[in-house]
Structure formats: C-alpha cells, structure tokens
C-alpha cells in the first residue's frame, strides 16, 4: 500500500457573490467565497466544523459545484447540511448526508479496499449564478488525524480561516505557508482561541508536470504534542519522537530474530550478497496488495502473516524485508516517506504526514535502500518517487531524518547504438540496441509488464519519432526478465515508409530517431508559472552509424558541425565524424536535475528550440551522377 495514512480530503465546494467575479473566476465558471474550519480540541480527540460557500457562475463551473464528503471510522461525520441558493438568496435546495450518493470501500486507485466512505452529489440549476453552502461536523477520534489543511484548490478562494479552540494547557505546534498570517490569540475562560485567516487565494495553476517544490498559497500544518492512537502513545515535537511513535506501532510485527548469524561480519561483499538475495526473493515472491481497515492503515500486519499470504502493502512488505535482513544479522530499518509527486516534507516541522514505507540496510557504513513494493527495481535502486526526499528512518532510538540518494543523469542513462542504412529508392532502415539504466530501466520494465502482444508492439512502434506512420517496424525484442540487476535492453528495427528527403542526388537523413524530451515538445513554456518536474535527472547517448546499401553508388557523406549547448539544467553535446564509407553521430542529451525552476522557463524554451534545430540537422548522402 502506497498510502500509509489516509489524508482526510474534504473536498467541499461552495461560494458566493457573482458580482465579485473577476476574469479568472469567469473563466473557470466558479469560485469559492469562503472556506472556514473550526477545530475544538478535547483530550485526544477533536471536533472539526468545515464550512464552504461556492459560487457557480456559468456552465463551465458546474463541475465544481459538487457536494462531497469523506468519512472513515476514525473520522466519522456527525452532522452535515448543505443548501443551494440563487443570487437573490432564495433557497433552491436543502441536502442532508442521506441525500448524497454514498460509496464505501473504495480508497485510492492502488488499494484493494479502504474503510472510507465517499459521499457526493452534484446539484445543478439552470439559472446562473447559484451558490452552494456546505457545513459538516467531523469527529477526529485521535489527534493523530489532526494534520492541518491546504486551502488552495482548483478554484480561487476569496476568504479563508482556521479557528482553533484548545484547552489552556494544550501543547501543539503549527506552521503556516503562503498567505496565512500569524494568528489572533484570545483566552476565553479555560480555552485559548487561535484564529488564522487570509484572503484572495489564487486557484492552483493548471499546468502539467508541476514539481512538489511549488509551494501552496495557503496551507497550515498542526501537530499535537501528545496523543494516542488506539493503545499506542505518540509524543510529537521532534522527528525522533515521531519515529518512536511509529516504531511502537510496528514493534510486535517483526519476525523473531532467531538467526543472528552475521554473514561474514567484516565481509562487505557477503553482506551485500545476503541483502540482495533477501530483497530479490521478496520482490519476486510477494505482491503488493493494500487493504486498509481501522488501524491496519497505520500498523503493519505481522510479518509471519505476510509470509503466509505472500502479499502485503508497503509497510507489510517493508517489515518483512527488515525482519529477514535482521535475521540475516544485518542492521536494517523501516523508513517513512512522503513520496515525490504527493508533496514535499517540511523537514523543519515534524509531523505524521507520510504515505509510504520502505527499508534501509547499513552495510559497511553505507546505506543500501530498498523498496519492496517496486518489483522492477534492481537491488540497491529506489523507484524515482522515493529518490531525493527526506525520510524518517525508524531506528532503535527513535526517528532519524535522512535524505534518500540523489540520482544523476549518468545513473539514469539510456545508451542507444543505432545504424542507419540508406536503401535503393531512398528509403532507409535502422536498427537500434537500447540499454536503459536506473529509472529508465525501471520505467521500461514496468511499462512492458502485463501488456498484450499488440500493446507491446504498439509501444515499440510509437517509440521512434513519427511512429508507425513514418516507420514500418520490422522487429523488436527486449529482455523479459522482470527482476534483473541488469539494465533493460531493447532492440528495435524498422524501415522508413517513404524515401528520405532529397534534392537531386543528395539524400538527407535526420539522425534524431528518438526525439528529445517528448514531454517537453509541446509544453507551453512562455506563460508557465510553476517549476517543471523532470521526474529525475537523466541522459541519453545515442551513437549512430550511417551506411548505405552496397548497390548504391554513394560518393560521400557530409555531417553537420559539432555543437555543445550548456545550460544550468540541461546539456546537449553533438559530435559527428566521417570515416571512409561510414559517418558517425553521437547525440548526447542530458537533463541535470529533478526539476527546473519557474524562473528558468525562458531559458528552457530557448534550449528546447535550439535543441530541436540542432538535433534534426541531417546527414547528407551524395550519390553519384549529380
């Protein structure tokens, strides 16, 4: 299971006041007039009241006019009411929870089952604008579930507030992000009232590939100093304490460490070999299945049970892996993580907001990272979603915040060796041997798994630039081993469907067979306001040998000039050579980091433009008889 914690995503949509709608609101067809949360702390539990008012201005906004609530046994809904009004304030509809469609058991897409229930309804009215008001009261059974809230959504919000009512001696910490200001604080008898507010929160940018580092415009995080979850006591405040709390949850779940034989204690190779065998066995024999019911969303199943079932979620498989590693005498620990793509852990604010668990083993003062849910990852390689993020390693003494390894373009390299042969009639054939390392290898292993024969063929056909409309694929192959420690190796052969472009007896062949950064090709960069997520640093070295069919009389070949483009975030290095009856091109492209900051978009657009021009400069074949 990827989601270690269920985040209560209370997607409530309401609004107000058509006459205040600006350009953005009208374009979206809706905006949120007010979002308010009032939380009252009582012992280890809390009562939370959500209020939201949304204005639906025109038909484009009607999909934002959804009444929606989520509840779980840990966070039940105790009261709910919603209303619809027209712009004169006349009530158009009134809704109770029982009026909403209910579905239970459906968690995240990767989950087989989750004990949450979703409620939703979409009241639609023909006269615009109309307004939806939603008020819900939730019971947080434990302060473990009191995390805070991100007020930025797909709609602009006029006014937001978060009110906290807590006993005088209640200890907690908070952190505000974006437009929130420090709170107003009042003492009301035995309670203290904290009040945070902000106005005019813009809608989330609707851009593709937004990097996690892009901050929220209005978020607030909380953490109670002391809390309990079932019989387990947590003490917040430091990462060490957070880790200790989680350690308690999993304490009884490990296999008994009967066998403490250390595989050649001073023999690093033997220890690595033992760890590799254990990891490979788990990713080969165990499958990922996530069932989240009650505390099992946070507490792993006993490793012995996981052994019987041969499946488990991330924490189940990690506890089993750590158990086996410990049985082998290795020093191994589970690690809590918020994976890339789901947000960024603020290392300055200890909290419980993790969604994944994997493992680390210490060998010869080095850390070897393993994610047993990634059955396509070779030993020692994490999936890219686990890379370069802060994680909480659950050591014997509590949590230790560490960072997972940063990858490099060289680790995630694709090495392509191609030959291109000009054929009689001007068509040409190509043959490529493609070696994908690191995340690139994981990508291909994952992508090709479970596909039908047709889907695999289609995948290969679409790979070269122009796909099947430009090339007839005559052959393809790949190493079908799903759990290799070796790179993914793919082979592809094809013939152009049409003759290469030619002027008289000169034939021009574009060496850029596989394009460049497909995700970049049509991305609108000039208006972009958010950092661009590159997934991970990566590189490609494409060596191409240009030849011709022996029946052709080719006088000579001409190649473009060498070029180098160097930017902070990327590099292009093109070298060409001729050698008798052959020409060679080496096209080396590299994206250096995990993301490109928003202020670099103009440079990125320039780089893309120059790259596309330079990469497509043709190699020329001069045939006899000019």
């Amino acid at each position: 299971m990827r989601k270690y914690f269920i985040m209560m995503a209370v997607a409530i949509c309401l609004g107000f006041q058509g006459n205040r709608a600006g350009e953005e609101e009208n374009k979206k067809g809706a905006y949120i007039e007010a979002m308010e949360i009032v939380t009252t702390i009582k012992g280890n539990s809390a009562r939370q009241v959500f209020f939201q008012r949304t204005a639906i201005l025109n038909p484009k906004g009607k999909d934002f006019g959804v009444l929606s609530m989520v509840e779980s046994p840990n966070i039940p809904i105790s009261k709910y009411e919603a209303f619809a009004y027209d712009d004169k304030g006349t009530e158009l509809g009134q809704y109770e929870l029982s009026d909403l469609n209910k579905s239970c058991g459906f968690g995240e897409s990767f989950q087989l089952y989750s004990d949450i229930c979703h409620y939703s309804a979409q009241p639609i009215f023909v006269q615009y604008p109309y307004f939806l008001e939603e008020k819900a009261e939730l019971e947080l059974k434990s302060l473990f579930f009191w995390r805070g809230y991100d007020f930025q959504s797909g709609l602009p919000v006029k006014k937001i507030s978060y009110e906290l009512l807590a006993p005088l001696d209640f200890q907690f910490s908070y952190k505000i992000y974006g437009r929130f200001q420090e709170p107003e604080v009042d003492t009301l008898g035995k309670q203290v009232r904290y009040f945070w507010s902000a106005t005019d929160i813009p809608a989330e940018a609707e851009e593709d590939y937004i990097a996690d580092c892009h901050p929220s415009a209005a978020r607030i995080d909380f953490m109670a100093r002391d809390l309990s979850l079932g019989k387990f006591k947590f003490s917040g405040g430091t990462w060490q304490e957070v880790g200790r709390g989680f350690s308690l949850l999993s304490k009884d779940c490990f296999l008994k460490s009967e066998n403490k034989t250390i595989p050649g204690e001073s023999n690093t190779a033997a220890q690595i070999s033992a760890a590799r065998d254990i990891y490979n066995q788990i990713i080969s024999d165990y499958r990922y299945v996530s069932v989240s019911v009650g505390i099992s969303g946070w507490r792993p199943n006993p490793a012995a049970l996981v052994e019987q079932r041969k499946y488990g979620d991330c924490k189940d498989l990690s506890i089993l892996l750590v158990s086996r590693l410990r049985q082998a005498g290795l020093q191994a620990y589970p690690c809590l993580a918020l994976t890339r793509g789901d947000g960024e852990t603020d290392t300055t604010f200890p909290g419980y907001n993790f969604n994944h668990v994997f493992a680390a083993v210490m060998i010869d003062r080095d850390t070897v990272w393993m994610d047993p849910t990634c059955n396509k990852c070779p030993f020692g390689e994490l999936p890219y979603s686990d890379e370069n993020i802060p994680v909480l390693l659950m050591s014997d003494s509590g949590g230790i915040l560490v960072k997972t390894p940063v990858s490099t373009p060289a680790l995630n390299r694709t090495l392509i060796n191609s030959s291109i042969t000009l054929l009689p009639g001007g068509t040409y054939r190509f043959a490529s041997n493609i070696e994908c390392h690191g995340n690139q290898g994981n990508y291909w292993r994952s992508r090709l798994t479970g596909l039908s024969k047709d889907e695999i063929r289609e995948c290969f056909e679409n790979w070269p630039l122009g796909g099947s409309r430009q090339f007839k694929i005559t052959g393809y192959n790949y190493n079908r081993d799903l759990y290799p420690d070796a790179p993914a190796v793919l082979e592809l052969q094809g013939t152009s469907r049409k003759p290469a472009e030619h002027l008289g007896q000169v034939y021009y062949i574009n060496p850029n067979l596989y394009g460049f950064g497909r995700y970049l090709e049509s991305l609108e960069l000039n208006k972009r306001t958010t950092p661009l997520d590159n997934d991970y640093p990566h590189s490609r070295i494409h060596e191409i040998t240009f030849r011709w069919d022996s029946t052709l009389a080719v006088d000579s070949l001409a190649v473009p000039s060498d070029e180098v483009l160097e930017y902070d975030f990327a590099r292009l290095d093109l070298t060409y050579s001729r050698n008798g009856s052959e020409a060679k091109a080496v096209l080396h492209t590299e994206m250096k980091g995990y993301y490109i900051s928003a202020d670099k978009m103009a440079e990125l657009a320039e780089f893309r433009s120059r790259c596309l021009n330079l990469l497509s400069r043709p190699v020329k074949y001069f045939l006899s008889g000019r």
Binding site: L112, V126, R287, V291, E458, S468, E501, S522, E524
Partner: protein, 647 residues
C-alpha cells in the same frame, strides 16, 4: 414471497418441453480437484499473449418457488508473472438485497498445496444499490490455479441476472445452467452467440427437498468454449454489447389452482409505465396551451408546427444530464417553469406540446445506445432508460429527441439511434422500429499559414463542425475552458512548440459550431541546405487508431462522416515550391481518402478528405480498415520542399 406456501404443492407439475430432452454431457468439476489437463494448460493458440486464462466459469441458476439461487464456480490459471497482478485480486458484484452464501476462494499451487483466502481480507464495497465482494488470493505465483465459488440467493423473479460467456480475460469454457423447478416457464434472448451456442442441452433432475420429497427440475445447459477477451478498443460501443450473453426472463409459474405471470405484454408494460410515471406527471399539462399557441400560431403546415415546438424545447429547456431518473421535475408544469429537465422531461414536454398543436404524438421508451441492448423478446422495461417522441407528420412517423440545441429537427442524437422502442399509447402501446436519418456530419479544418523568410509559421485555423460533430464539440465548448479544449484537441497533437495568439468559438445556427484559433508554430519547417521542408498541419487521424493486429468484434463509427483539411500557405518572398508530394487516393468499401497539393506562385494549397460512408465494419474487414488508416496516417509524413532564393 407469496410463492413459498405453494412450493411443496407444485412438485407434481411437469413442465411441457418443446424441445427433446437431451442428456447433459457435463462433468461437473469438483472444488479443489484440478485435473492433469488443467495443470498442462498454457497460453491459448487463439490468444498467445494471455497472462492468465479462465479455465471455466460455471453458473447454475436454480429457480424454485421459494428462492432464486445462482451457484457459481470459477477456476483460473496464472500463466505469467504479469498474470499475478492482472488476476490475483478479484471481486464480484451483486444487488444490495441479495445474500451471498458459501463463499470460498483458494490458491492451488503446482505442488497441490491449497491455501484458502484469508477471511479477514474478504471485504465488501458498496455503491448505491450494488455491492462488490473483493478478495486477494494468497501465495500466488505463475503456474498457480485460483478458484472461487459462491451462491447468490435472491428473490428477483422479475429480473434474472444475465449470463456473460465472455469477459476481459480469455475464457476457455463458460457454462450456464438454467435449472427451473417444474411449473416455471421462461423466455430467453441471446446475443453474440456463436452458431449452435444458443441451443441448450436439456435434462431433468430430481432435487431432494427433505422429508423424502423430491422436486423435479428441468435443466437447460449452455456451453461455449474458447471465447476471446473483450477489451476496450477504439470505435466500439460498450464492451458488454460485444459479449456472447444470455438474458433470461421468467414468463410464468403455475401449479394446480395457481397461475402467476411474471411478464406483461408490451401493451401492458406501456400502460404500467404511463400509470406509474406519466399520469401524475402530466397533471396541469394544460398550462402549456398558451405557449404552444404562441409558437405554432403562424405555422401553416404540420412540419412547421412540429419544428417550431421542437426548436423551442431543444433550445429553451436546458438539459439535466442526470441519467439515474426519468424525470428531474415533479410534473410538466414545473419543467416548464424551471426550463431545466432530463431528456425525458424535455421529450414529454415536446410530445404534449405537439399534441396541443393538433399533431398526433406519443412518448417512446428507448434504451440509450451507449449502454443498452434492445431485445424485443424480453418483456421488461429495464432495457429502456429514457423517452423520446414519435410524431405523425403528413401521414409519416418522425422520431424526435429534443435533448440538445445542437441537434436539428428530424435528426436523432447518436445515443438515440437504436433499433427499437416502445411507443406508449396506454393499452395500445406497441414496439416500433426506430427510424432515423443520417445528418450531414462533417468537419472542415481550414488553416492559413504565413511563412516568413526564416521559416517561422504564423497560423490561423478555422474549424467548422457540422452534424453530430457539432453536437459533440458544441457540448464540450459550453462546458469546458475553451483554451484547454483547443490545446487538448488541436495544438498538442502537432507535437511542436506553439504559442496561442487568440481563439473564439461560435455556435452558428442549428447544427453548426465553429472555432477560430490563431497561433505560431515552431519547427513546422525544417532547413535542408538552401531549402525548406514543410509538413502539412492536420489535427485528425494523425495516427492510425487501430493498432491491434486482430479484432474480434466490429468497428463502429456510429454514423457516416467527412473530415476535410485544407491548408493554405503563403510563402515568403524568394521562396518557391520545388517539389510536391504525390497525390493520394485510397478507396475501400465504406471509406475513402484523398490528398491534393496545388501550387500557384507564392501560394500553396494542401487538401485532404477522409470520408467514412459506412458506419459499421464487420470484424473480418478489420485488416482492410487498419491498412486504410495506416495509409491515412502515413500521409502525415508528406513533405513539400521549398527552395529559397539566394539572398
């Protein structure tokens, strides 16, 4: 259930069989007993890429006077590691009121070890009136056999669950037994059954009832083998419409002194629907008289009247797309006040207004083409989900559906293009074939490109949608952000960097919608020594949508259509056309494609036309169709070479 009291008394009833009794040849597999042959199963010859197969899916539906019980036993084999992820977590759905009994699931490893599914992880999801039991098999590996069984006990005598002989997984054997207690009669409708598949083996069986009493059951066994998977592919209807399936309906039950009919005839069902849904809904319908008069007062003939009313309802009453109810308004007056209703709300209003204008009109029940199959053999209203209108104009019938302002009078929206429906006329209700016209459905993309001397392209595209394409695009443009729509449907498809300068959509009259967008493109032209190479700009069918080598069911384009793409390019001074691509002309039964290139001075014109004149292509024509679209896509690689005068 009131039948319970009669159940024992009915034992003596012998059902008259029209067919001869055939001995069942079916050897019932036993739970957990895997045969050697099953262990030897590998990928099917017909579908060698299968990661898993259903060895058998067997269902026995017992219908007796006290309950209906479906006993199901499914056995699968995992053939590859990928098959584990595909098949090891399963589930089945059932109605909220049904009881699931005797559920068991287990993994059988190649060494014969049996591992039962952990009961803790047998869980039930709920959504509306449906539940899904979901479970994860333990200790699964490639080569394992998985099986599960359960019984669904219910009292849904009026609606027996259909049986699908196919699924998204290759099915080696699917067996359905309908076991009727003596006294029951049933009718059946089959679809997509291979030749001979719909003729059952018939046998009799005495079922022990306890107390020494036996009850005779008549058993009809249907068996199909080696059924290919039905998966989502381009240009298809909903997957179940392609699966071999059997829909059963109990007709009656009788015993001495007792007769109960489960079905009504179509007139009876029509009356029932009108009594239950329309009678109260039409109270106050007189309020529409004045409106109707004002709309039709100046009309001099029947067609003009009908058209005036249709246009009003299509345009002025906005559509509520809630498909879960027939009517979103309590009555027709409320509908008229709200000016907002479901398809049925709109079409009932249309029918009543037509009547008040002096025309003969009736509501017609149909089932959407998107998720219903019309089966006249089955007498139940579940196969319908909304109402359209039948109107008699100048002696002929016209079917109307005023759901959208983008659908002109006389044309049915794509989802209403169905085979048949039930014309509601009280006790005279009857089934009718739905007839419809094919509107001129066309898309014309006209792109003007100005090339400057450096090869930069300033473009403007005007897209004209007509007919059903206007209906589809018109709805999108009303509900989505225009710029997002332009990016997703047009510019992103070019795989070139672009910058939008402006855009505007227009809803022309009736079934015409158009769009204008101006933009600049980078990389449209590439440099070849002192020449430029120019690619055509085309947004539709850039790729062949048909990528699978084989198709097991027909291709369904729904309606005939024409796409045209016209690029007019103005060359910069000093540029001239050096070579043009060869024109293309391809024709197959039901479709044609052509390209033309013309050059005159500084202007260059590229025109391509794709016509699909036949909406449906049988599966055996798939190869021809696939090749046709290969050529259509390949024309995207046509290049114009421009020479540039030395500067």
């Amino acid at each position: 259930m009131f039948f319970t009291n009669y159940s024992k008394a009915l034992l003596v009833i012998v059902l008259m069989l029209s067919a001869s009794l055939l001995a069942g040849d079916d050897n019932e597999p036993k739970w957990g007993k895997v045969t050697d042959a099953e262990w030897q199963i590998g990928p099917p010859v017909e579908y060698p890429e299968a990661n898993a197969v259903i060895i058998f899916d067997r269902g026995s539906l017992y219908v007796s006077f006290d309950k209906i019980e479906l006993e199901r036993h499914v056995r699968l084999k995992i053939l590859t590691k990928a098959g584990i992820e595909e098949m090891a977590d399963l589930g089945f759905s059932y109605h909220d009121d049904d009881k699931i009994k005797g559920f068991e699931a287990q993994t059988i490893t190649p060494d014969g070890k049996k591992i039962a599914v952990d009961k803790k992880n047998v869980l039930t999801k709920t959504s509306g009136n449906w539940k899904t039991r979901t479970f994860a098999f333990s200790a699964v590996d490639s080569g394992c056999i998985l099986e599960f069984k359960y019984a669904n006990v219910n009292e849904r005598y009026h609606y027996l669950d259909p049986w699908y002989f196919q699924s998204s997984i290759f099915t080696m054997e699917s067996v359905f037994k309908l076991c009727l207690a003596a006294g029951f009669t049933y009718s059946t409708a089959v679809i997509n059954m291979p030749a001979g598949g719909s003729r059952p083996a018939v046998s009799e069986e005495n079922q022990a009832m306890g107390g020494g009493i036996n009850r005779k059951m008549i058993i009809y066994t249907y068996k199909l083998n080696n059924m290919p998977p039905v998966r989502n592919e381009p240009y298809m209807g909903f997957p179940r419409s392609y699966m071999a399936a059997m829909y059963n309906q109990l007709v009656s039950a009788e015993s001495p002194g007792f007769y109960y009919s489960y079905v009504k005839d179509w007139p009876g069902l029509g009356s029932e629907f009108q009594d239950n849904y329309l009678k109260d809904y039409l109270i106050g319908a007189k309020s529409i008289n004045a409106l109707t008069d004002s709309l039709t007062g100046v009309c001099t003939n029947q067609e003009d009247k009908a058209k005036a009313v249709y246009d009003y309802v299509a345009r002025e009453i906005k559509l509520n797309d809630d498909e879960s109810v027939y009517f979103s308004n309590e009555n027709i007056t409320q509908n008229l006040t709200n000016k907002y209703g479901t398809i049925s709300d709109k079409n009932v209003l249309l029918t009543e207004m037509l009547k008040r204008s002096g025309l003969e009109a009736w509501p017609v029940l149909i089932g959407s083409r998107n998720d219903h199959i019309f089966m006249p053999e089955l007498y139940h209203l579940r196969q319908f989900d909304y109402l359209i209108t039948a109107c008699k104009i100048d002696g002929g019938f016209v079917f109307l559906d005023a759901q959208s302002e983008y659908i002109p009078f006389g044309i049915l929206p794509p989802e209403s293009r169905v085979n048949g429906g039930l014309i509601l006329d009280g006790g005279k209700s009857y089934l009718a074939k739905i007839t419809y016209e094919n509107p001129q459905t066309r898309r014309y993309d006209h792109t003007i490109i100005m090339l400057d001397s450096m090869g930069a392209a300033a473009c403007s595209t005007h897209v004209d949608f007509q007919g059903y394409l206007a209906f589809q695009f018109g709805q999108d443009i009303a509900e989505e952000i225009e710029e997002d729509l332009i990016k997703g449907n047009f510019l992103d498809r070019l795989d070139l960097p672009y910058q939008i300068a402006g855009h505007q959509s227009h809803h022309e009259t009736g079934d015409r919608v158009s769009l204008d967008v101006s933009y600049s493109l980078e990389g449209l032209v590439s440099n070849l020594d002192n020449h430029f190479v120019l690619k055509p700009v085309r947004f539709f069918f850039r790729e062949n949508p048909f990528t699978n080598q084989k198709r097991f069911f027909p291709v369904d384009f729904e309606y005939p259509r024409i796409y045209q793409n016209h690029c007019e390019i103005t060359l910069a001074e000093g540029m001239s056309v050096m070579s043009l691509p060869e024109p293309v002309k391809i024709e197959i039964d039901g479709a044609s494609f052509s390209t033309q290139y013309l050059n005159s001075g500084q202007s260059l014109s590229m025109l391509c036309t794709l016509q699909i004149s036949q909406p449906a292509f049988p599966h055996y024509k798939y190869e021809v169709l696939k090749k046709f679209f290969d050529q259509v896509a390949a024309s995207m690689e046509d290049r114009v070479i421009l020479s540039v005068a030395a500067r």
